[in-house]
Structures are given as structure tokens and as C-alpha cells.
């Protein structure tokens, strides 16, 4: 009983926070202005990481500019798809097997993330399109 009420509060707090965050990301473009934090990894090391561009992508996504969102972070779409597929299968909405339940999925994801990070830091054609 105690644990479930704790979980309830956590869900409520996270829900309110994400609603505020969505409102914020809808109203302001992270591309101009200082409102949103920059990736510390990029700030100090000058390297684009796998999460760079996600804030801009979220802003574009909320304005239904899918192509721009895609250009800011290519990995956002596949990761959202995979997570949605996992959640729908787990909750019984969709039949089938979760893509995340296979034995080698974590390794494949690790390789994709590391490759993505390497390639998006190459500043020449065609990899420059992967940069945020």
C-alpha cells in the first residue's frame, strides 16, 4: 500500500513536470535564446553526443515539422517507435513480441548509438547531415 501511494505521487509529479516541459518546448524554440541548457558534452568537449539535438527535435515535433525534427536527431524517431512498440505489446494492446525482449537487442542498440555518435561528428558529406 505504501509503495503504491509513493508510486502514485511520483507519477503525478512526473506528469505535471512533463506537461510543463511540453508547454515550454512548444512555446520557445531552443535554437534561439538561452532558455534551455546546452548539452554539457558539446559545451566542454565539442563533441556531438547521441542526445544532441533532441530538444530542438522536440520543439519541431510539437509544431509538426517532422523533417526538421528528423534532421536534428535521427535517432529520436526509431527510439520512440521501439519504446511505443514495447509498451503497447506489454500492455496487451498489440499482439506480438517486444523488440526489446530479444537477447541481443541491448548490444545492437549499443552499437547503433556508438556508431551514430561517431558518424555525426564527421564534418563531411554525407555524414554532416547527421549532426544536430
Amino acid at each position: 500500500m505504501e509503495a503504491t501511494t509513493k508510486k502514485k505521487y511520483l507519477v503525478i509529479i512526473l506528469g505535471v513536470l512533463s506537461f510543463l516541459a511540453i508547454l515550454l518546448y512548444f512555446s520557445f524554440n531552443p535554437e534561439n535564446g538561452l532558455l534551455f541548457p546546452k548539452c554539457p558534452f558539446y559545451n566542454y568537449a565539442g563533441i556531438y553526443c547521441s542526445g544532441c539535438g533532441t530538444q530542438r527535435a522536440i520543439h519541431d515535433l510539437l509544431h509538426l515539422r517532422f523533417l526538421e525534427a528528423f534532421s536534428h536527431n535521427v535517432l529520436l524517431f526509431p527510439s520512440v517507435f521501439v519504446i511505443l512498440q514495447h509498451l503497447t505489446v506489454k500492455s496487451g494492446i498489440v499482439k506480438g513480441r517486444s523488440l526489446l525482449s530479444y537477447r541481443y537487442t541491448p548490444m545492437v542498440i549499443l552499437i547503433i548509438v556508438l556508431l551514430f555518435m561517431l558518424l555525426r561528428n564527421l564534418r563531411f558529406y554525407p555524414f554532416e547531415y547527421l549532426a544536430p
Binding site: 535564446g33 554539457p40 553526443c49 519504446i83 537487442t105 542498440i109
Partner: protein, 95 residues
């Protein structure tokens, strides 16, 4: 998996948290979490249930550390710069 009919179910490898952590914020902790998720699967496939459980705990821990740090940094940043930003907007009109 099939040859161990008396094995308990596989511990959660928290891969969803790991992906969220990696793509939405924190590279280092996200990758640590993905590696532990992989360890959960491998240990379980080898039949080492205890080890899989430990790896599961680590996967969750690293994903949550990343998310927690990101959340705190984000809130503090928005709190500091957000108010300055809103103030500038209220004063100047354009920023």
C-alpha cells in the same frame, strides 16, 4: 532459456529507461545502462540468475542516475535562466 524450465523469469533489464536516458540526455550513464542491460540478458542465458539480478539493479541505477542528474540540472537551469529570460522579455519586448 528453454533448457532451464526451473529458472525464475528473466529480471527486467530496464532497456526502456536506458534508451530514454541515452537519446534524451546523458550519454555516459545511458551507455552504462545499456551495457548492464546486455549483461542481464547474457547472464540469464548462461543460467546465472543471481548475476542477472545484480546487472538488472545496476542497469536501473545508472539509467536513473542519468535521468536524475539531467532533471536537476534542467530544473535549476530553467529556474535561473528562465526567470532572467522572462524578465528580459517583460522589459524589452524582444530578446
Amino acid at each position: 532459456m528453454e533448457n532451464n524450465s526451473n529458472m525464475p523469469p528473466k529480471p527486467n533489464n530496464h532497456l526502456v529507461l536506458a534508451i530514454l536516458s541515452t537519446v534524451f540526455c546523458c550519454l555516459a550513464t545511458g551507455i552504462a545502462s545499456i551495457i548492464y542491460a546486455s549483461k542481464v540478458n547474457e547472464a540469464y542465458a548462461r543460467g546465472e540468475y543471481e548475476e542477472a539480478q545484480i546487472a538488472s539493479k545496476n542497469a536501473k541505477m545508472w539509467a536513473l542516475i542519468g535521468a536524475g542528474i539531467a532533471l536537476v540540472v534542467w530544473i535549476v537551469y530553467i529556474a535561473i535562466f528562465g526567470f532572467a529570460f522572462l524578465g528580459a522579455m517583460a522589459n524589452g519586448g524582444n530578446y
